[in-house]
Amino acid sequence: MTDSPAPTVAVSTPIARKPINWLPFMPWIYTIALFAIWELGVQLSGLPHTILPAPSRVFQAIIQYWPAIQRHSIQTLYTTSLGFILAVVGGLALGLLVGWSRTIYAGLYPIMVGFNAIPKVALVPILVIWFGIGTVPAVLTAFLIAFFPIVVNVATGLATIEPETEDVLRALGAKKMDIMLKVGIPRSMPYFFGSLKVAITLAFVGSVISETVAANSGLGYMMSAAQSQFNVPLVFAGLVMLAVEGIVMYALMAWIEKRTTGWAHRSTTMAG
């Protein structure tokens, strides 16, 4: 009697328990779908390729100009990463500062909001006067545009510490700094990583617009040079490269996030 059900279980489990895991393929499926819609949309709408080139044309451009694209992409990745690292450090520090004291919060926050409502491209000429064109203004622009979301989420993380948790540390005579480091930051980690996702994309935008205005290399330079030639497929090739670099950086951060904030992503019904 015990023999007969056993094989059934053995047969049924692999089928029931191991459905194909589609998850790793999802980004590809969505991307391919997106490109398909794009291609179709362009074909049907009949938009001229000087406005919106079809992806097929963009890929042609990527292949045709690959050496230039590669060089400029690496430059942009480099400036963006530097600016992003600055933004993380600066954003964390500013976030802690703003979270630190109510007076700094009240005073600094509105100014930061005001500053961030300004298109950074307006500041690039000033940076160029000070630092010349090239890497430095691009890094700084990336930094200036990217630090704010980090500040906001770190400061929110600190401001919303539950007093119950705080009390655990306060009862031990912990200083404010201890509470920030031991509770505030770890607790806001998931949102910190969320802000990094926003910050990295903004950092790319920042370095690219700076390169557009003032650089001899980088994707921003390449795209503006191509734009002035109305080589729009090449402009879009640059955009696609930007997107790819953004996704690569995202993947890197998603990986770090997974390793550090597992404790927070325990929800059984929600994605994450």
């Binding site: 000087t50 006067i129 000070w130 650089a215 040079a225 002035s228 030639q229 109305f230």
Partner: protein, 318 residues
């Protein structure tokens, strides 16, 4: 090998056909002959060059003399001057399409919609052009459209004409598939505009400290531009070598247009490359008064300094 003097130079725009003079001077070793090591940085328009040079971020640059006049008008003591004229005739133009009813006659613009990028140099001269050519603007609509949509909107017929540099707009329109004979450039200079165009500028503090460097620069650049006029193909090749996303054929065409319309003009053929007629420059300042508003009484001598130019005979383009 030897001790070269470094010079920081900012261009007006990306490296494209019309910049062949700079690239050839470099490629043919003229700077090295003068003991110079020149770094060319690309610019973001002929206007932004001016603050870059005036603040000393760059030693020299290639920018719009009309904007320089405006800039010095704000404060005449700023350390910047033009020292060599390159675009003897400015390339400011209104480009329209014959099929939309525009002809070479400025009066054909009446009743039309004009597309204008606000930062465009040609658009800035519109008031002076209106006055010089005497057209009636009452029925003219001006739409503010940025550079990326300028030619596409004209190609689509959303606007009837656009402002811009002739050699850019014409080639861009062709790239949009507009037929050659449909494109009508109205050159402002042909209709009473006395203005000059882009010129070499120098930070005067730098020039005072290094007069021989500046002179060397101008000698080398004169040779470079002469070469570009003589052999546009070689010029385009030098440009493409510096900016590898370009198409040689298009850049050759662009360079040829710039040579014909702006650089190698009849005045230049007579009087040599690089100099200006100070009376005409004063007249230009006058006209600028109408277009962009000049408040102080600034004179040609405040703007242009010909003391660094090579002798006229060295500046003749064959």
């Amino acid at each position: 090998a030897q001790d070269l003097t470094p010079v920081r130079f900012t261009l007006d725009w990306r490296i494209e056909g019309p910049a062949a003079g700079f690239m050839l001077a470099e490629a043919n070793g003229y700077f090295e002959e003068e003991g110079l090591d020149v770094t060319f940085d690309v610019g973001n328009g002929s206007v932004e060059v001016i603050p870059r040079v005036a603040t000393g971020a760059y030693d020299m640059g290639f920018g719009d003399i009309n904007s320089l006049i405006k800039f010095l008008d704000e404060d005449v003591d700023q350390p910047i001057k033009a020292i060599m004229m390159v675009y003897e005739t400015p390339t400011f133009s209104v480009v329209g399409r014959r099929s939309l009813g525009v002809t070479e006659d400025p009066a054909s613009l009446e009743g039309k919609t004009l597309g204008a990028p606000p930062p465009d140099g040609a658009f800035a001269q519109w008031p002076a052009f209106v006055e010089a050519s005497g057209i009636d603007t009452t029925d003219i609509t001006i739409e503010s459209i940025g550079f990326p949509v300028r030619e596409p909107m004209l190609a689509q017929g959303d606007v009837d004409t656009v402002f811009g540099f002739a050699f850019s707009v014409i080639l861009n329109l062709k790239a949009q598939g507009v037929a050659d004979d449909d494109i009508v450039p109205i050159m402002m200079a042909d209709h009473g505009l006395a203005l000059y165009g882009n010129s070499i500028m120098v930070n005067t503090d730098f020039a005072e400290a290094n007069p021989e460097v500046v002179e060397g620069m101008l000698r080398a650049l004169t040779k470079g531009f002469a070469d570009a006029v003589a052999d546009p193909a070689a010029g385009a090749a030098a440009v493409v070598a510096a900016n590898d996303i370009l198409d040689v054929a298009i850049e050759t065409e662009r360079l040829e247009m710039a040579n014909a319309m702006n650089i190698n003009t009849s005045y230049v053929q007579e009087n040599g490359f690089g100099g200006v007629d100070m009376n005409r420059l004063d007249a230009a300042i006058e006209q600028l008064g109408t277009s962009i508003g000049i408040s102080s009484d600034i004179s040609a001598a405040d703007v242009f300094d010909d003391s660094f130019l090579p002798p006229a005979e060295e500046r003749m383009l064959q």
